[in-house]
Symmetry: C2
Subunit: 176 residues, 2 copies
Amino acid sequence: MIFWKFFFNNLVSQHSFNKHSESKDQLLIRNIPYKNTVINIHFNTDKQINLSELEKLCDTVGWVRRPLPKVYIAIKYSIVVISLFYKINLTKNLIGFARATSDYAFNATIWDVVVHPDFQGYGLGSALMHQLVRILRNQDINTITLFADPHVISFYHNLGFISNPDGVKGMFWYPR
Amino acid sequence: MIFWKFFFNNLVSQHSFNKHSESKDQLLIRNIPYKNTVINIHFNTDKQINLSELEKLCDTVGWVRRPLPKVYIAIKYSIVVISLFYKINLTKNLIGFARATSDYAFNATIWDVVVHPDFQGYGLGSALMHQLVRILRNQDINTITLFADPHVISFYHNLGFISNPDGVKGMFWYPR
């Protein structure tokens, strides 16, 4: 029993909500046209996100504003957050975001996928999702789920997501 | 900036994966007939679950067995786990289980809802779900989601869950 406890605790200690092994900036897509020039898009999985900048990004796609302290908690307790940005000099400009919750063992659920409208149509959404799925797979998560609005169902379908497989339905409970 | 960091960190410290404020045994339903007598069903939200007992419970409903170390991690990183049991003398006999993952802020997703077949038909599944929703609502989670197999969609519907609201669809990605 003591051995198992030690074994389990060792396993669990490999999973931390405060660190992530892959937080350095990585090149995602080169030469996206922007304002009479071309830029490179990078991504990282750093949880130290400027929440005002994230809020502005979400504004561009018309999302309802959410209390920043709750956004901070949601990021903290997501298994992965992924940010897309371009750099001008040393400044990073956030243009994409997604995150996933998980039990760190079997399932993950993806939330808050957003790409700035100025940068849509260049495959950034697909590239973002490929990275997110890859990172979750690297953490041995087998079942990756999400809830898709009608206008993005075909987008996720093209990435290999299946809607209502074997009649399984996504269901929601909201406060009345 | 320092104030906000202090404020955020204080908020986050209220959420811990190792403690839960509501882990004592509570009476759920009285006088369920069982083996020529009647028993009372209790629940708690203790994460210290006997994993072999949980595995046996899942066997009774025909679920595929899963590696116990991964089950341990999944329980550890669930925002809530809830167990149903009856007591004989001081021994607790596990007869129901459910858990939820969450970002501790906006969303929770319910997984692994199970009631032992010998105890189905007495409203225990509904009572279990009511407690789970109540606990998540007490933690200020507004959107509670799940993925329902076809034969339990009406069960969840009767509990107030809506399938595919506004055309939103649950989607799955599995390794190929």
